[in-house]
Symmetry: C2
Amino acid sequence: MAPLGRIPEATVARLPLYLRGLDAFPVGVTATVSSDELADLAGVNAAKVRKDLSHLGTYGTRGVGYDSAFLRFQISQALGVANVWPVVVCGMGNLGRALANHIGFTDCGFPVVAATDSDLDKIGTVVDGVPVHAPGELGDIVHRLNVAIGVISTPPEAAQGTADALVAAGVTSIMSFAPTVLSAPDEVEIRSVDLVTELQILGFHLHRVRIAEDS
Amino acid sequence: MAPLGRIPEATVARLPLYLRGLDAFPVGVTATVSSDELADLAGVNAAKVRKDLSHLGTYGTRGVGYDSAFLRFQISQALGVANVWPVVVCGMGNLGRALANHIGFTDCGFPVVAATDSDLDKIGTVVDGVPVHAPGELGDIVHRLNVAIGVISTPPEAAQGTADALVAAGVTSIMSFAPTVLSAPDEVEIRSVDLVTELQILGFHLHRVRIAEDS
DNA sequence: GACACCTTGTGCATCAGTTCACAAGAGTCT
DNA sequence: AGACTCTTGTGAACTGATGCACAAGGTGTC
């Protein structure tokens, strides 16, 4: 019943999962969800669901559960999913193209409105509806199109420079796919999606069981 | 100095970063790294570096630092990076193609040896050196090519089925890009890379500062 | 050899997040 | 109304991770 205090980071990371889980419930219909059901849908346990939702000041009704529509509203509110945050994709290699093309982002309020690439052959072209500009135009693009989020899918060497350019342009939210540690001012939120690291973590566990088997 | 006890998960997730940081040091040359330098390279703080490395039973020398070559060896050993873990990519949409194409994976010991897709036009073709098979052949592929890791880049509806097929084929490590919660036996390690969720977390913070500014 | 200077390894306090367990409320049935 | 069942909300214990601070143990210099 906390009236919107600070929401723990771990909870924030799970709210999207709950929201997605609620899609299993038809929209216009009054239905109730128990923390147990929601836990199943989100792949976590029920106690966590309840504690997470309590941070939103949510009121379910005891003995019954949560009203699915109202819960959806509350989580949406907390996450601010009603907002539209335009995205610029920096680096139109294979991955960048795949991301720019990913229609799912637009549906969720993250339209890819522009891209940059240093390849002269790509600059000036339009890939899947996304215009490709020179890296130097980043600042201009960000201002003109109200870009809120920058995606870095450049080669690792160019990643820090791109991050700097994004920050200089006023972008405070970055999702990076580059296998590099990026530095930026504290107020800039960086989420690093490091696929090689992920694979190496999987590799570590495979390695572990292999050792266990051999001994 | 713990002689290879259990390594905390948080440490495992950072070891690849240290390893990457060590690339700044030339291979054949004897050089020393201090925890401070390594901390900078990996974007964490020095105390964490030292505690992490202590879990490997590492011995740096006090007053000097760590021998870069030996440290690299030790981390490599712990992570098992010498192993090669063949990967199958399930779902050759935009993202799947980008992943299959990503030469960086092969360099790190994760060669993409095969792919699957349900599109009849793609089955039987070879994309960037990766042969595309029908989903039904997954079991066969896994056995024939000794696949260790499955990447799920299918549409969300097909994700759980694909995961089940991978598990049935004996794959115990899965990296999923599908925006869905996957269920699998406990012994299967699943790492979910959920891009929409990542964006929504960024969106949450943007939303927060916007609220703060408006008030 | 003594002293000054580094940097590691680690005990300890702290913090964030998870899980348990249960009282408190809401509905239902008799 | 009372008893029973259900599910929330939360205090409290617990787990894991983080960061501090300092002793222990090296190197180098005089």
